[in-house]
């Protein structure tokens, strides 16, 4: 079939249309897909030369993400995500956070609720016992010399 091979110019539909209007291609010889594409055109014309779309992508953040951050500060990530079938499957952090939301009330600090939830879940399921507290990395390690000390000496 006749046709331009310059793939960067316009779209395939437009190129065939041009051939038909210029009588380079007879109407009976038009490609099989032509009528279908005319009736159901693509949502965006598949042009190679097109302006860059605006780079505005939002970040997905949930209200319970603050709790999630606290959770990962406290506990070691001890379980895995099940990719085979995640229907009806919840990860340990997710279960913890859902329980936390139930316990949330005014006047209670975050640490208090954390302890409550932890105690409750440990009671229910044995696997929650495995949680280990992370060492607090914000405090300086033993043996390191701080600036104030070097100044005094």
């Amino acid at each position: 079939m006749a046709g331009s091979r310059s793939h960067k110019v316009s779209t395939i539909f437009h190129r065939v249309q041009g051939l038909l209007t210029a009588e380079g291609l007879e109407w009976k010889d038009r490609p099989l897909w032509y009528d279908v594409m005319e009736k159901f055109p693509p949502k965006t014309p598949p042009k190679f030369n097109r302006p860059l779309p605006p780079d505005t992508v939002k970040t997905i953040v949930y209200p319970e993400d603050l709790i999630r951050a606290k959770y990962f500060e406290r506990f070691v990530k001890s379980d895995f995500t099940k990719l085979k079938s995640h229907i009806g499957w919840k990860t340990l952090p997710q279960m913890f956070i859902e329980e936390y939301v139930k316990h949330q009330r005014e006047g209670a600090t975050v640490d208090e609720i954390f302890d409550e939830v932890e105690a409750k879940l440990n009671q229910d399921r044995t696997r929650y016992k495995r949680y280990i507290h992370k060492p607090n990395r914000s405090t300086p390690r033993q043996g390191t010399v701080t600036e104030t000390e070097t100044e005094s000496t």
Binding site: L32, W33, P46, F48, V57, T59
Partner: protein, 261 residues
Amino acid sequence: MPKLFRQVFNEFRRFGDTKGIHIIRQKIPSRSISTYGTLNQHAENKDVNSENSLIDPLEHHDYFDIRKTVTVKNLFLSTAHYGHVTGCRNPYMTPYLFGVRSGIDIIDLEQTVRHFQDALNFTAHIAYRNGIILFVSRNKMMMPHIEKTAKACGEYAHCRYWSNGIFTDMVSRLGQNVRLPDLAIFLNTQNSVFQTHKGVLDCAKMLIPTIGVVDTNCDPRLISYPIPANDDSFRSNMLYLSLFEAAIKKGKAKRAEDANM
């Protein structure tokens, strides 16, 4: 020889009453593939199977009843919304994104559904017109499944290395001129991690429409009907294959049905 419904329709138009027929493009003398006359009816609000089956398939929004097969839930459960790490993103994929969750791009499945429906409808129409459909992929994991699917629906697959000029320089490659496909379905539009599949470019050159599952690291520009979705997961790939297979089979079944009418 069974007549195609178009032939029946042409006879009807020639000998019957032409009052209710609305003809477009009267200047064009000959046609071999599709009708240009349509019955003057509001086809979109009717169920084709129960009502008049002498409707031009192109006049119906969903002639093959295929659009309902794709749902957001379906896609979500097969992890079609997972993209790549933000650093890998192709800038032309940003309109299809829902957002970024902890450094990973998430694809907007509502857009995916709309694109997928269009793609399936187009596939079914090509199958209905007896077009040749070629499944293309370079994903080794999916290769046997794609070939099986293509065989099951009586179409073709090319899942091996794409040598240059297989479309553009057939005579020296294959020894003779070969009929090219009418539609190429790319289940993976990447050749390697950074390169676009050479087939996408060749199809654009040879005026072959393409349907492609584009992940967030793929270039959707040259693909006629891009489907923004995860192309790495086995589960999602199997879902796409089943959907395309159903579309092709439905198109062919409709063709046989209309021919026997």
